[in-house]
Amino acid sequence: MKRFLRRQRALADYTLAALARRRVKNISLVAIFALVVFVVASAMLFSTALRHEAEATLEGAPELIVQNLVMGRHDMIEGSVAETLAGIRGVTRAEGRLWGYFYDSVNGANYTLMVPRDPGLVPGPGEAIIGEGIPRVREMGWDSAPLFLSRHPGDLVRFDVAERISSQAALVSADLILIGEDDFRSFFDLPQGVYTDIAVSIRNPREIDTIVDKAGALLPAARFITRDEIIRTYRKLFSWREGIMVALAGAAILAFAIFAAEKASGLSAEEAREIGILKAIGWDMTDVIAMKLWEGALVSVGAFLLGTVAAYLHVFLLDAGLFAPILKGWSVIYPDFALTPMIDGVQLTALFFLTVAPYVAATLVPIWRTAAADPDEVIR
């Protein structure tokens, strides 16, 4: 065993000396390889973390949302529907939700105005609880600076800021303005008794489907959105985003694949000569193959480790700065959020085998042919 290890170490030494002879070329190879791993691993870590964040926070979302559809579009719903829904067995609570959007023509941002469901969270008349992003885009200098909203030229509505929502919750509240029901109705000129949609609380989550069936029979025109569907929407969304980011990196990956295959598989005349000499001085075919295996393994494992660690730092310590513009799109408010650092072992293993294995394989195949040939023939 000891003999075997010593032999392998000597082979590794030899390989490294051979790599060092083409230092610039090999260092740049590792760097490009690491860059490719970095992009893919960043996309993977980032979307996994976002998916986790969405699933964990949206656990608190209402079990069921009932929307009214008029002419195929979402419309206001009558408050009396909540009573109908509350009558279904298994429903603990059904109440109207009031929320809407406000386009701020001052800075082009969209805010979400909402009346909180929990009465304990409802601010007093003329007051608002605002999310982390609003003071940022409105440049509200001090903590108690009031918020002015203008619905049309000449109009100005003042809200005193009762509280700023902690930036810890920015991912769900960056653009949120929580106000009381009376303020909401007067701000949007909304009649009494109508709501944006109805939030339904259901005691036993396993009954949700049955309750949706029953409610569907009572309200044939309504649209029902369960919490599961909400979470599924996000799961899909982030998987898609991850796919897009990987696809954007696709051209680079392809270019690298060609480069690596060319480098690894197409033996230069010099390398073939080297192998010929090794064989001529008594190296075994297995030695030559082991030596090349070491080359492939050192390059690809090194690049994998470099790329993965850099991706972790990028996503969790530098807040995925390179991806923010892709996610941001045309938004004016973008939440300043932290992600829960996490590493998915299965994903990491998949990435390892997708990067290391093909490279090692690509180095090995052409060597086989050369190593099997007669040294005299190869050197010539």
Partner: protein, 113 residues
Amino acid sequence: MRPRVYRRSDMAFGLIALGLAALALAGGHAALSRGASQARLAETAALVRAAGLTDLALFTEARYTRNPAMADLHTAFQDNPMAFEHFPSGTFAPRPASFGAGALGFDPAEVAR
């Protein structure tokens, strides 16, 4: 005693070990920060519950991006976040030329200025 010989493999294995250690450190960091994150996630979930929220404030650019779960059945972005238009014909419809000029003021004259 034999003199210590410099071997390239020492450095290479050292670097690989360093990389593995960094990866393990990242794993440790992820495990350690779970506690603090749990508190933050619980706080966020409590806000979601209290306010009755359904969506993340990640994409605030349009209705159907701010609340993809609540959007109309065939709105763009609902199924595919990069599909700004859901149907091929939407490609030909331009976005509005003007979003209106915005200004903030206490009276119409100020706004007009």
